[in-house]
Amino acid sequence: MVNQLLLMDRDSDHASALKMYLERHRMEVNIVSSGKDLRHYLDNQRFEIILGDPYFEQTETNNFLKTIKLNSPGIQIIIYGSRKALDLAMDDFGSSVTNYLEKPINSKALDLAIHHAQKCIANERKLANYSQRLSDLHKAQALYHQLFNEVPCYISVQNRDLRLTAANTNFKNDFGSEIGSFCYEIYKHRSSPCPQCPVVQTFKDGKSHGTEEVVTSKSGEQYNVVTQTAPIFDDKGDITQVMEMSTNITQIRQLQDHLSSLGLMLGSMSHGVKGMLTALDGGIYQLESGLKRDDPQRVANASEQIKQMTNRIKKMVLEILYYAKSRELQYETVDANELANTILAMVLPTAEKNDIQLDASIPDSLGAMEVDPSWMQSALVNFLENAVDACIYDTEKESHRVKFTVAAINQDKLCFTIEDNGMGMDRETREKMFTLFFTSKGSQGTGLGLFIANHVVENHGGNIVVESTQNKGTHFNIYLLRKRPRHINIDFLKEKKIINLI
C-alpha cells in the first residue's frame, strides 16, 4: 500500500534525507518548506499522513494542523522536533497527533510511527466502511419496515402455537394489535384452530399454502380474504415462524357471488316456476271443470289453490326483485295482529308436518303499524321458518317447539319474538348469519333469506337482537317501529355498489 505523505520541514537537507528514507518504505512524499507551500498542497492534494515540525512557520502552521484534524480526522499527523518543541506540541495537539518523535529522529521510532499511522488509516477506512454498511442496513431495515407496514394486505407472523408475533399496520387497524393472541381468535373469533389451517400445514411441510376464508374484523365486519403462507427459517434451517398474507377480496366476491347466484337462481327458479305453473294450470282446470259441473266444492278448492300459487309466485318474484334490483319500500298501515297471524298461518303447516309445536301469543290489541307489508311479511316468515328449520335439523332432542310472541314495548315500538329449542348456532354462524350467501343449511340454503330479512328490518328502522346457544336453541327479538322512520331508507345494494357494477 502506497501512502501519500506530506513532509513539513524548513531544513531542506533534513527533509531530503527523510524523503529518501521514506520513499524506500513505499511512501509518496511531498516536501513543503513554507506556510505558503503548505496551503497550496493542502488545497490541491489529499494526504493520508503529515509528518513534520508543527512550528516551522510559527503559530500559523500549528493552526493549520488543528484545522486539518478537525476537517479530515482520518489524516494521521506525526510530529517531530526538539524535546521542548514536543512538550509544547503535546499541550497543543494532545492525542489528536498519532505520534511525537524527538529530533534527531531514530529510524526505528520513525518506522513504528509510520506503521502505527498506517494501521490507524486502515482502521479508519474499515470503520468508515462499517459505518456506511450500518447506515445502509438501517436504511434497508426502515424500507422493509415501511413495506411490511404499508403493503396493501394483511400480514401476520405466527409461532407454532398459532400466536401472533408480528402484524402489519393494515392488520392492526382492522383486527387489533393484540400481539400474543391466537390467530383464530383474532381472525375468526373461534376458540380452537381452524380446520385445514394453512399455517399448521406450512409448519408441517415447509411449503406455502393458500386458502380462502371469511374472517371477522374487530368492528364485526365480515371480509372474504385469500390467504397465502410462507415459512420463516432460523439459521439452522428450522421453521420457527410462519408468515401469513391475506388479501381482502370482499368486493370481488360480492360481485362474483351476486352474478353466480343470479345464474343459479335462474336455474333453480325455472324448476320451481314450472311446478307452480303446473299447479296454477291445475287450479284453472279445477275451476273450469267445477263451473261446468256446477260443483261449488271444486270451485272453492280451485280458488284456494290459485290463491296459494299466486302467493308462492309473488314471494319468489319479490325475493328475486329485492336481491336483483332493490326498490323503494312501499309503506302501508296494517294491523299488527293481522300481520302476525298471516305469518303464523304461513309457517304452521310446515311445523305441523314435521311434528314441531308452534305456540303463538299474539294479542288482539297490538294496534296498527306502518310497514311495507310484502317485505315485512316475507322477512318475518323467514325468521319463523328458520326457527322451524333449526328444529327440523336438530337430532339431539326428542320434541321441539317454536314460540312466536308479539308484544307492544311502548307507544312507538313492537317486538316480534321467535324462540326455538332447535340446534342453535355456534359463534361463527351467529356472526355470519346475516352475511350474503352464508348458509348453515348446506345445499338446502341459498344464503339469501336472512340477508334480505335483516336488511328489510334495518330499512324499516328496526333492529334485531339474537341470543343463541349451540344444541340448545335460538332467541330472536325483532324490534320494529310503529311509524315509518323519517331518515332511514337505505338502498343497501346500491350503497354497497353491488348493483351499480352489473
Binding site: 324448476h271 314450472k274 305453473l277 303446473t278 299447479a279 296454477l280 294450470d281 287450479g283 279445477q286
Partner: protein, 117 residues
Amino acid sequence: MKKILIVDDDLNIRDYIASLLEDNGYEIITAKDVPEGLELAKKHIPDLITLDLDMPGEWGPRFYRHMSQIPSLKNIPVIVISGLTGNEYAITKAVATFTKPFDRDELLKVIDETLNI
C-alpha cells in the same frame, strides 16, 4: 275402469292430474313419494303410472328401478311428468315424457293410446 297411479310430491299437482284423469273416466290412486308409490303399486297393480322425477328422499328413476325388479309391476307403462331439464333422459323406457306445465289434451291422448282406449 283402468287404474292409474300418480306419483308426485306436490299435493296441488297430484290433485290436478287426479281430477283430470278422473274426469276422463279413470280410477285414480295417488302417492306423495317413492315408498308410498311402490306400496300402492304392489297393492293395486295399476294399468299405468305417471311419475314425477324430483321428489324429496328417493327420486323418480329409483322408483322405476324398484318397480322393474318386481315381476307384477315391471311391465306397467310409465309416463314421466317433471319440471326437470333433460327429463327425457332419466327413464329411457318411459312411454312418454311431459315437461311441466304439460298440455292436458296431449297427456290424455298419450294415456288413451297407451291403454288402447
